[in-house]
């Protein structure tokens, strides 16, 4: 517990086609987003999850339809792992017809069924605790899953919510995507102690996951997720991962060797090299799908909204 295990580089196992496709959909969605920004087709800001796609894809089958999922600023992958809807999300980001939230929320504020994202760090944890309290009263075996980054552990709201969740025995699953950096500040420059140590302080079980293998992750985390659901108690799952792209747009301050090292750990290249025949057509299919989606969405009329 609490040790900073390096992400493992063990050979990746072969994925089911649908898992691979979902990973690649997210990858090509994010690459498309970057291109659209470069081409001036997207306004505002966005944060891509390049490199981290496998986290929500691995967790998705462990979640149920009536679970609440709270996502953050880096949330495209969280959404796409749950809903096969790149059109709705891209329309949201471009303010086009068919937008998920009429173009009001944009990249960081989307809602669909029980999925919600917000652009304020840490804000979702207390809210998740509240939804978990609701689930418990109604006798549901649902849980509230909250994605946060390592940097978000600087927010007091996180601790208030962990305390509530532990004290009131609430089914809250905190998924930490620890990519070693928050915007421009390395984790080592903003966090004293460890995430595991902080969870331990509340008596909350903590599991550190270094693998990027979707199959392995499911195996490693299934029991912890089931405990949250069945015992109705919180847990923290910490993924040691890498952010491959900039924080938002063109703002990567990491030295080149560090970025190169992160790129070398990318599941995408490792999987491509290991399963070329499965990978190549799947990759091409998702690349093509996203180019069709982008062309379709950009051709739509602007979204409408009445406050």
């Amino acid at each position: 517990m609490g040790t900073r295990r390096l992400p493992d580089t063990a050979p990746l196992s072969r994925l089911r086609d649908e898992d691979l496709s979902r990973l690649l959909l997210i990858r090509h969605f994010e690459l498309t987003v970057q291109n659209l920004f470069a081409g001036g087709h997207l306004s505002g800001t966005t944060h891509t999850c390049l490199g981290q796609e496998y986290v929500p894809v691995a967790l998705e089958p462990l979640l149920k339809d009536d679970d609440y999922v709270f996502s953050n600023h880096r949330g495209h992958g969280h959404y796409l792992a749950r809903f096969d809807d790149p059109e709705g999300l891209l329309a949201e980001m471009t303010g086009r017809h068919g937008a998920l939230c009429a173009g009001v929320g944009g990249s960081q504020h989307v809602r669909r069924a029980r999925f919600h994202s917000t652009g304020v760090q840490g804000q979702s944890l207390p809210v998740a605790a509240g939804t978990a309290l609701h689930l418990r009263r109604t006798g549901s075996d649902g849980l509230a899953c909250v994605y946060i980054g390592d940097g978000t552990w600087g927010e007091g709201a996180v601790y208030e919510a962990l305390n509530l969740a532990a004290l009131w025995r609430l089914p809250v699953l905190v998924v930490v995507e620890n990519n070693g950096i928050a915007q421009s500040t390395p984790t080592s420059r903003q966090m004293a102690g460890t995430i595991g140590g902080r969870a331990a302080a509340f008596g909350i079980p903590h599991l550190c996951v270094g693998s990027r293998d979707v199959n392995v992750i499911r195996e490693q985390t299934a029991a912890a997720v089931a405990t949250v659901r069945d015992a109705g108690t919180p847990a923290v799952l910490e993924f040691r991962t890498d952010r491959l792209g900039p924080h938002s747009k063109g703002d990567d301050t990491r030295p080149a060797p560090e970025r190169a090292a992160a790129a070398a750990r990318d599941w995408y290249l490792r999987y491509r090299d290991r399963y070329p025949e499965q990978f190549a057509p799947a990759d091409e299919a998702q690349r093509h799908r996203m180019s069709v989606v982008a062309a379709d969405v950009l051709a739509r009329p602007l979204s409408r909204w009445e406050p």
Binding site: L100, R111, Q123, P126, L133, L164
Partner: protein, 345 residues
């Protein structure tokens, strides 16, 4: 509820307690969360007495985590439940500012379609009790003009059961400011206030909660004071003195909803009086009164005899020592003097 309340008449605190019992009793998805709200303590001001005994799962004493607990309330509301969260002192609502402004109120419309949020954050506010700078403030002004956030204030006349029902029915998060000084006072019914003044509700329910109209019987207004519930007694005392000693007939309007302000309801009385004051306990600067004055000027400009005048506390921290506190917080005498001076101008 404690027995015997009705015989000697109900206090404002008892009326509010009854309102909370009604909300929790009528809705099995209604929660009340707050610091020390469980029995036997029943909250720092004893407003929640009896609730945890009757609804043990849904009335919960919480850790000292205002932001976290309002966030949990917002989560309940997001899930379709009803949440009432008590701040021990309204001064601490700043700790929940993000959850109120950036989550609960935003959620109503930021996801493109309307998401009803039945969340009420109760804030005991106001001074004149010697609690000092961080336990005496009136933070209403910090929350004015937030889209989808409604501000209400307890008055000695409005029935809390009706008010809470109305606040929750709207489906937007609400803050309920409760002047602590009112808790121990008798809860009044519309009708005679004393030998000279009467209180009557005006405004239809479509406009929001009724506005209480307190006026000297049979006398048209020489001036009008729009006052928060917390200040109503001080304003009433000043109006009485002005009538008896200076022959000035002042009317008072007391809205239970501060924001959005029901301009249309007060406009006929503004036009009739011409001279208008807005009274609240907040310290000077960026006040509720400034917002109300602006709306009145926009709506009733030709009928006004002069600028709408603001009556509020001084631009200072609120001292603990009673003799100092009195010099900062707006009092009956301050109100009376300001109104007399306006007529001498």
């Amino acid at each position: 509820m404690r027995g015997g309340g009705r015989g000697r008449g109900e206090t404002v605190a008892e009326n509010l307690n009854r309102g909370l019992h009604a909300v929790l009793g009528a809705d099995e998805g209604a929660y009340l969360l707050g610091e020390d709200v469980e029995d036997p303590y029943g909250g720092a001001f004893r407003i929640t007495r009896g609730l945890s005994t009757r609804f043990p799962d849904r009335v919960r004493s919480t850790p000292i985590s205002e932001g976290g607990v309002v966030g949990a309330g917002a989560g309940l509301a997001l899930a379709g439940d009803t949440a009432i969260v008590e701040m021990m002192f309204g001064d601490f609502v700043g700790l929940a500012f993000d959850q109120i402004v950036n989550f609960a109120s935003k959620t109503v419309t930021m996801y493109g379609t309307r998401v009803p949020m039945r969340l009420v954050v109760r804030c005991p506010v106001g001074g004149n009790r010697g609690y000092g700078p961080t336990h005496s403030q009136s933070p209403q002004k910090h929350f004015i003009g937030v889209p989808n956030l409604a501000l209400y204030e307890l008055t000695g006349w409005h029935d809390s059961t009706d008010l809470l029902r109305e606040m929750l029915a709207v489906g937007v998060p609400a803050l309920l400011f409760e002047d602590k000084i009112l808790y121990g006072r008798p809860h009044r019914r519309p009708g005679p206030v004393d030998d000279l003044f009467r209180a009557e509700p005006i405004g239809t329910t479509a406009d929001g909660p009724p506005v209480m109209h307190v006026h000297p019987v049979g006398l048209p207004p020489d001036f009008l004071v729009i006052a928060t519930g917390g200040l109503a007694d001080r304003v009433h005392a000043a109006l009485r003195t002005l009538l008896v000693e200076h022959d000035l007939a002042g009317h008072m309007l007391i809205p239970a909803r501060l924001h959005p302000f029901q301009t249309e309801v007060v406009a006929p009385w503004v036009r009739q009086a011409g001279t208008v004051f807005v009274a609240e306990e907040s310290t000077a600067g960026g006040t509720w009164g400034a917002e109300v004055a602006h709306r009145i000027a926009q709506n009733c400009w030709p009928a006004l005899s002069g600028p709408v005048r603001l009556l509020h506390s001084r631009d200072a921290v609120i001292p603990a020592a009673p003799h100092l506190e009195r010099t900062v917080i707006v009092q009956e005498e301050t109100i009376g003097r300001a109104i007399r001076e306006a007529f001498l101008d």
